[in-house]
Amino acid sequence: MPSDVQPVSPDAVPAKPFAVRKARTRFFGLTFDECIRVFFGGNAFVAVIVLALITFFLFREGSAFFGQNRESLRVYRQAGLEYIDIIRQQEADHTALTRYLFAIRMKVVATLREERGAVIQADLEAAKNAVQQLAGAEGGATSTTLVSARARLAEAQKADAALGASINGELAVFDTFAERYSDTVLPVRGLVSDLGEIATGIKSRYIENEDYKVARSQFIQAGKQGEADAIQLREIDFKTEVAAITGILPAYQQINGEFTAALQETVRELPVLPVASLQPRLDRFKVLTQDYVAMFPGIEARLKAWDPLTPVTWSKSFSSFIFGREWLTASFWQDWYGVVPLFVGSLVISLIALIIAVPLGVCAAIYINQVAGPREQKLVKPAIEFISAIPSVVLGFFGIAVLGQTLRALSQFESLSWIPGFPYSERLNALTAGVLLALIAVPTIFTLAEDAINNVPRAFKEASFALGASRLQTIVRIVVPAALSGIVSAVLLGLGRVMGETMVVLLCAGNRIAIPDFTAGLAVAVQPVHTMTGIIAQEMGEVARGGIHYRALFVVGLVLFFIALLLNYLAQKIVRKYRISVG
């Protein structure tokens, strides 16, 4: 076939067609094989896309939070709530001092009872037990013994009551002192509650007006000008409104002066406690009160310098989330979205879980890989992997139904009371959740650590044996150090697993949103906490879409996401950096 492109050969012999003809169908300039390659490559790219989408959507829903939070803080400031909170803090500090007094009283009563009432207490217990036993064994006990036991119980109770009365009588001076002390704050408290009403009034009127504005703009968008005009907007002039609050400064100063005088007057003469050893505490209380009074000029200065129109900065909005110590929603006063209590809760639970899971997981990994025989290995390894298949919600249910009670009952044993925090009464707390999470983390840590130990070259072990080391020495000095990077990364991945776990903590952690009280020492483990994952799962279903609370939950999700990425990154980095080279 003649063509102007193809040069015709001089002999003009027609070229033989190829035996194998490749039909190169092309799509967009790609051969069939290349298309398939692109298809598979595209699928692999999905992982990247999903990761990007997660980031994008978390940011998309969450990023508006900081603007809304800033707005909320602005209203908080401009409506004068912030101003009142300064005074309120003063009141709260006073309450804390009163509580300190009360704690002293409790201690005194406890010591006195121990000193004088040990016999009475024992009598009372014995009589109670006797009555209970007799009443329980109805048929066996004759009624006369029961009656006499009851009489003894009544006697013991009477003696107990008399002891209580005598202790109270000795504490009468202290009680009047405490009462006088706690009454000193009343004028300040009255002022705060009066001001609070004004400020919440301003805030609610402002919010109402904003709602009207939204409604109006919606009417205008819908083309209903008439309805839009019917809505009357009442702009709030914060400056004049707040003047009603800031105007009380002279009155406050006067009240404060009286308050100071009353406090000093009260603590001038301390009552004498019936327990001499506790007297230093009362002296300490005096010092605390003087410190407290010394803060007053500072408070007044802050009030004077306070200006409702100071703009709220972005960093303030940001830091009130990251460093905010309160997560308080649906409050009449002011909503706070501080992630610290949730983060600390997650951390406490994770630490408890790791403290239990790391020794167990690593020991089991060493045992299975180095010590156990092949048959034991074959049985135990799948069994531990199998544990990881227990769904977390089932574990959570187990915690609610069984473990919570069991641990609490365990804590009430007399012989275990040396453990910090024991006995406790909250069934659902960080410990319950931590123990269950340990069961979730163990298979992860075990599998990865076992892998790491398995990857230690045989030659290392053989060399160690050849030098005469025992098995234990080889394991401790050679195998484990060689696998250490893998073990550490296993622990980090286990931590990631635990931090991200939702259902167990939602069901078993007790869900109290507060920073746990670390002054309790190790007993912090038995306090109920709330977690980042738990709060999302609990509140997401109940919040209004697009609201500040909704956005705050997305930001918490974002924090979780980045924590997970960070842990993952660290785990990989450690493995790569400290990987042993065999050469």
Binding site: F45, I54, F57, V394, S470, G500, R545, N568
Partner: protein, 359 residues
């Protein structure tokens, strides 16, 4: 002084004793883990099996036996006293009973009996809709995850040459594996439920769960593909087959059992997770069964009840007592049974497969 049994037996020196003690310590740690796992299983199986196995009833038509717990929808349980007898009934039964009693009392000319009942939601009936929902969720999401995951694994194992793109993809997969499930839930809620406006639906749940197990499926599939000897590929290529022909005829058939078995582990994960479906696919209660829809497209845009979410609801939203614990333990038992069977199958098949394929 006792002599050892034979001259080469090791003497119990202090060091050896210490070694043995340490090994025993390790052994105890290992068995503590197993015991803890066993305790959870044992408790739920012991207390839950009676609910399930006690719910068999004979029926009048084929197959003449039914299990009310597995085949009915959840109902409110009423506990009341009538004629000195304490009775427990589900909602429908209770209403019928009350009406018949009142009617009979009126016919006899007596005042209508008063019923003082305590009610416990979800504590009667069964969990059939939850089982259906879970199965639907698992099937749909695994279909998506397997398609995406196997294709990705083929690319990574067969086509990819080490480069920036592949490293990037691997990094993404690794990181995706560590993302907490609740974050997937949030993401699914933000993207599918709100942005795509699918509402709380099967479709949203499918994609959320599929993305969540994607790393598991990819890793498992890649491992299976890598296990096929290189010679199979080279032989095929040497005979003039194209890359795709090689993969199709000489790689995939041998890798497929491995891919499927390892992916079962993904199924266990999908079935067991609660957090991702909480806001994307699960309803607390739904009267209709999923196939009870007007249009076919409605099928995909409906929420379903699911076993894990049901466990969450019955264990946190209703009080713990003798009447509610039956349904709590029963649901947990059925769910744990399903998930454990899947996981067991996966582990056993994998061990079996490792022994069988030796090239």
């Amino acid at each position: 002084m006792s002599t050892p049994a034979h001259p080469f037996a090791s003497r119990p020196t202090a060091g050896r004793k210490f070694e043995n003690a340490t090994f025993w310590f390790f052994r105890v740690a290992t068995y503590i883990i197993l015991l803890a796992g066993l305790a959870v299983f044992g408790d739920i199986i012991l207390k839950g099996s009676s609910t399930v196995f006690g719910a068999f009833k004979s029926t009048e038509h084929f197959p003449y036996v039914t299990n009310t717990f597995l085949s009915e929808a959840p109902e409110t349980l009423y506990v009341f006293e009538d004629g000195g007898v304490k009775r427990e009934m589900g909602d429908t039964e209770y209403r019928a009973y009350r009406e018949s009693r009142i009617a009979s009392a009126l016919a006899a000319g007596e005042p209508a009996p008063q019923f003082k009942s305590e009610s416990y939601v979800y504590s009667a009936g069964g969990i059939w809709p939850c089982i259906v929902g879970t199965v639907l969720l698992v099937v749909g999401s695994m279909a998506i995850a397997l398609t995406l995951g196997v294709a990705s694994a083929i690319f990574l194992s067969e086509y990819a040459k080490d480069g920036a793109f592949v490293r990037f993809v691997r990094l993404a997969i690794l990181n995706l594996a560590g993302v907490p499930s609740i974050v997937f839930g949030l993401f699914g809620f933000g993207m599918f439920v709100i942005f795509f406006d699918w509402n709380v639906s099967l479709l949203a749940g499918w994609f959320t769960l599929a993305f969540m197990v994607l790393p598991v499926v990819i890793t498992a599939s890649e491992e299976a593909l890598k296990a096929v000897p290189q010679g199979f590929r080279e032989g095929s290529l040497a005979l003039g087959a194209t890359k795709w022909q090689t993969i199709r005829s000489n790689v995939l058939p041998y890798a497929l059992p491995g891919i499927l078995t390892s992916s079962i582990l993904g199924i266990a994960r999908v079935a067991g997770e609660t957090a991702p479906i909480m806001f994307t696919a699960a309803y607390v209660v739904r009267d209709k069964l999923p196939w009870d829809v007007e249009k076919v497209s409605d099928f995909f845009f409906q929420g379903v009840m699911a076993l894990p979410y049901h466990i969450y609801v019955v264990s946190s939203k209703i009080p713990q007592n003798e009447y509610t614990s039956r349904v709590q333990y029963g649901t947990a038992f059925v769910f744990l049974g399903i998930v454990a069977l899947i996981a067991l199958a996966s582990i056993l098949l994998r061990n079996n497969l490792r022994g069988r394929y030796k090239w």
